[in-house]
């Protein structure tokens, strides 16, 4: 599919609509932006209060003291800023044999970045296959969305998935983070995915694993004598598959998904399967409704 179709004008319009929908929903919930009652060090003035001995004397507003001869200290509004890390799987299996996985992944990545930038969070775009690569440096401000778009459009999908490379990703502890992993999680062995996600427990961030899946990966329509080719490793295997074999395949795949979900739950990692045949907006709203900090604005 052409890149123009991945991020066309219609998609961006739908993204904006989605954003306004989200904001309205937040306002209805009266949650507000991520403002807290705690004093912060940002430059956004909030109020005055009487100076107490435990207060830092440097916070005294001497101008006001000169006018009213009473000691007041300024209260500043603390605004919580998140660092959103979006890790996109750029292995070959994300584009072959089902290109819809790439489209879904890129659209989801852009939507998350857009949401983060619009809410004045820092957004980092990373990719991984056999190693983790910083695609876009941390960005802030909605004006950077075009840069994100431009970069993702040209991002190549190739290589072999080495989920163990997620160990290379170490988000800084200077601000709270939200990590989104967008991947099909198909490595050399089914057990590899759960083991690789173990590292997420050490990240100072809430982690969301979005498992991108093509329906045909769950229910492949293969029968008879076939030569199977692994798109990542190019390994070939000639088999004669029967319907019973395919039933067994489906059982194994569903077990893989169930084990993965179980493993993520144990590690307090949000896990969601993203089927490429379902509507994007529905899936995206469902993703944000799972209690992500990002959805709080």
């Amino acid at each position: 599919m052409a890149d123009e179709q991945v991020f066309d004008a219609d998609f961006l319009q739908r993204l904006r609509t989605l954003f306004f929908k989200l904001r309205r929903r937040r306002m209805l919930k009266q949650k507000g932006v991520q403002q807290t009652q705690a004093l912060g060090f940002t430059r956004e003035f909030k109020d005055y209060r009487h100076y107490t001995r435990s207060d830092d004397f440097r916070a005294i507003d001497w101008r006001l003291f000169a006018r009213v001869e009473r000691l007041f200290v300024k209260l500043y509004e603390e605004i919580q800023e998140y660092h959103i890390h979006i890790l996109v799987d750029r292995s070959a299996s994300m584009i072959e044999p089902f290109p819809r996985k790439r489209i879904a992944t890129l659209r989801l990545g852009v939507a998350l970045a857009y949401l983060g930038l619009m809410n004045q969070h820092r957004v980092s775009m990373l990719s991984f296959a056999s190693d983790v690569k910083q695609e876009v440096p941390p960005l802030k401000g909605q004006g950077h969305i075009h840069r994100v778009l431009q970069h993702l459009t040209g991002m190549p999908f190739e290589g072999v998935t080495e989920l163990a490379c997620l160990k290379q990703f170490r988000p800084k502890r200077d601000r709270r983070g939200i990590v989104f992993i967008l991947s099909d999680l198909l490595g050399r062995e089914p057990e590899e995915a759960a083991a690789a996600l173990e590292i997420s427990t050490s990240w100072p961030a809430e982690t969301h694993v979005v498992h991108i899946l093509e329906p045909e990966e769950i229910h492949p329509d293969i029968d008879g004598e076939v030569r199977l080719i692994d798109v990542e490793t190019q390994e070939q295997r000639q088999l004669t598959l029967t319907r019973r074999d395919m039933d067994r395949y489906q059982e194994a795949f569903e077990k893989f998904l169930a084990d993965l979900a179980q493993s993520c739950m144990r590690r307090r990692v949000d896990y969601v399967t993203w089927r490429t045949d379902l509507p994007f907006e529905k899936m995206f709203l469902e993703l944000l409704s799972r209690g992500s900090a990002l959805s709080q604005g």
Binding site: L228, T233, T240, R243
Partner: protein
């Protein structure tokens, strides 16, 4: 190695799609998948290396080819011949003639003994030797073509029955020899009670042959009077192999059946003739033969319509005969029965002769000639024949020519031909001057051409019987064209002048010479002999009719009808068989009185060879094994079918044992 049904090898074309499918078989579909991890876990039991896969494919091809090959070979019935020098086939020739019904001893017929003898032989015959079963009486009949199926062979052997017909072993053996040559090296097992032994005709056979010759002559009124059975002419003695023209790799073995000491007496010759000028009186000529260790006392009963009218006691020496002329009085349609009775008689089929009393009338000849063209020699000959009461000649001028008015047996056109050729009567044409119908002639101008030396082309023809052709000189009046079924009998310098034959069912004798202008013909006995021969040969079909159609079994009878019915002497129907395809010709295969439509007659065995046979033994001798046995010899069909089944099982195990759908 050869195939019984080579036509079935055409199924081998099935190998073409098999090989083509292997060569241009569909490659496995290439399917790209995100990961092989799940398929690997799924297919761990099928894991096989590429070389093993290629080997299995090659093996699958070989199995398919072998399966088709074995199937095709089984269909074509592959037979591996035994080792060189061994027999490839055996032709069993079993005698099914009347004499095989004789019960020599222990209540078993000769045919039963013959069957047992063949069964014993077949039991010792190696399975790779093909067997052809043939029975014969006066004609051979192949019951089982060259086959390795012993069961079918034994079934067919059990079904062999005796027909009350004389045998003709020579014809059967000649056929057997030709069939054996097709599957040589071969052996012919001839199971018979006939005295035909390896070294040619036996003494018995010589005797029988000479006696039959005497019998024939006697019946014709020219025979010897002797009754001692001495041969009257030299009999050609040749080995059986020479007579049959056996190939070097074909041998013949006679398995003789029937005790030589058995007693049998039977009627071997019979003819009934009206007495000249005595209406209602007949002479029955009877010939009785007997065999046994000593003289055989025979009682001959003569019955007319089942009433005993005469009884004769005869003493017949073994191998000799008694000939009698028995006066008989009866009306047309009455049934004369002759029956011999002898103590210890082993064969009943030759004891009885039934005969219908014929309508007593001579041959009726219509002689058409121009009044002025009378030939005194022809007239003299016809008068002489008429005096014997065997011919009734009617003279007519061409103006009075009308074949419809009277019933005639033969028409004689003497120097004249009708405007249109009559096709309903046998015709004797003398001195034809133009071509008409089947007659093709070129007249010789003038008084004709004297021919001093005639060449007799076919001296054995009945028309020339007794005629001294080499002493005859004639004047040829026309040159005849002998084409098609007319064969020349006399030929002069310019061409044929006497032809005879049958054209479209009409018998014809054409003589293109003038007796009155021929030197040394008119006054010779040859001329009336020739004329009489020609007339009686032309009337031969009717001659049998006049004598009551009392025929030998095995004869073919031409008559209009849908079925042949058999009757007893009281006239009651005892059997009926439909004529195949509404045909007009049927074979007489029973003894008794028959009727087809309007035609009636009788059938009797009347065979000296059947009466006098019996030269072997009744012992059931277990035969020594014939042929060498081997695992890969003989009919390989069962082996091929087993191999095919094994291949199918192997193929299923190799390639389908995991496939559970």
């Amino acid at each position: 190695m050869h195939f019984q049904f080579p036509g079935q090898l055409a199924w081998a074309w099935l190998l073409v799609p098999v090989v083509l499918l292997f060569l241009v078989r569909r490659r496995p579909k290439k399917v790209k998948v995100s990961t092989l991890a799940f398929f690997k876990s799924l297919a761990h039991v099928y894991r096989e290396s590429p070389w093993l896969r290629r080997l299995k494919k090659l093996l699958a091809l070989l199995i398919a080819i072998a399966t088709v090959g074995f199937g095709v070979f089984a269909l074509a019935q592959l037979v591996v011949a035994p080792e060189a020098g061994d027999l490839k086939s055996v032709i069993v020739v079993i005698d099914g003639s009347a004499s095989m019904a004789a019960n020599d001893a222990d209540g078993r017929s000769r045919l039963d003994v013959a069957k047992q003898r063949v069964r014993n032989r077949l039991a010792g015959l190696q399975s790779g030797i093909g067997v052809l079963l043939m029975r014969y009486d006066h004609r051979p009949e192949i019951l089982v073509p060259h086959s390795y199926d012993r069961r079918a062979l034994l079934r067919a052997l059990e079904a062999v029955t005796v027909r009350p017909v004389a045998d003709d072993a020579d014809t059967a053996l000649r056929l057997a020899a030709r069939l054996a040559a097709l599957h040589a090296p071969a052996a012919i097992w001839h199971v018979t009670d006939s005295p035909l032994l390896r070294s040619g005709l036996s003494e018995d056979a010589k005797e029988a042959k000479s006696a039959e010759e005497d019998s024939r002559r006697n019946a014709e009124g020219k025979g010897s009077k002797s009754g001692d059975g001495e041969p009257t002419e030299a009999i050609e003695v040749a080995t059986l192999e020479e007579r049959l023209g056996l190939a070097d790799d074909v041998s013949i073995e006679t398995l003789p059946i029937g005790l030589p000491t058995s007693v049998n007496a039977g009627i071997t010759g019979f003819q009934i003739r009206p007495r000249p000028l005595e209406r209602g009186h007949f002479d029955a000529f009877v010939e009785v033969h007997a065999r046994g260790p000593t003289d055989v006392e025979v009682k001959l009963e003569v019955r007319m319509d089942d009433k005993l009218v005469s009884l004769r006691d005869l003493t017949v020496k073994p191998g000799a005969y008694e000939r009698l002329l028995i006066p008989v009085e009866g009306t047309h349609g009455s049934v004369l029965t002759l029956q011999t009775r002898a103590e210890g008689d082993v064969l009943g089929l030759d004891d009885v002769v039934h005969a219908r009393i014929p309508e007593a009338r001579p041959v009726r000849l219509l002689w058409i000639r121009k009044k002025e063209a009378i030939d005194p020699f022809t007239q003299l000959a016809l008068v002489a024949l008429g005096e014997e009461g065997v011919l009734e000649a009617f003279e007519a001028s061409p103006e009075a020519y009308d074949l419809e008015k009277e019933t005639f047996d033969v028409v004689l056109f003497d120097g004249w031909l009708p405007p249109t050729w009559p096709t309903n009567l046998p015709a004797l044409v003398m001195k034809p001057r133009r071509s008409l119908g089947p007659i093709r002639t070129v007249p010789i101008e003038g008084d004709g051409l004297p021919i001093d030396e005639l060449r007799a082309v076919d001296e054995q023809h009945p028309v020339l019987y007794g005629v001294a052709s080499d002493r005859v000189a004639v004047t040829q009046t026309a040159v005849l064209e002998a084409g098609g079924s007319l064969s020349p009998l006399w030929t002069g310098s310019m061409g044929p002048l006497l032809v005879a034959g049958e054209v479209k069912g009409q018998k014809l004798v054409i003589a293109a010479f003038a007796a009155d202008r021929s030197e040394r013909l008119g006054l010779m006995a040859s001329y009336p002999l020739l004329l009489g021969n020609a007339i009686f040969w032309l009337a031969q079909g009717d001659e049998e009719e006049r004598q009551g159609n009392n025929l030998q079994t095995g004869r073919l009878v031409a008559a209009e009808g849908t079925a042949i019915t058999w009757h007893d002497t009281a006239g009651s129907e005892v059997a009926r068989s439909a004529l195949a395809g509404g045909g007009t010709v049927t074979e007489l295969d029973r003894i008794g009185l028959w009727r087809i439509g309007e035609k009636a007659g009788s059938a009797s065995l009347l065979s000296k060879s059947e009466t006098l046979t019996g030269t072997g033994s009744q012992d059931d001798v277990a035969a020594a094994p014939v042929g060498t046995s081997g695992f890969l010899s003989g009919d390989l069909r069962p082996l091929l079918l087993w191999l095919l089944l094994i291949l199918l099982v192997v193929e299923a195990w190799l390639f389908h044992r995991h496939a559970v759908y």
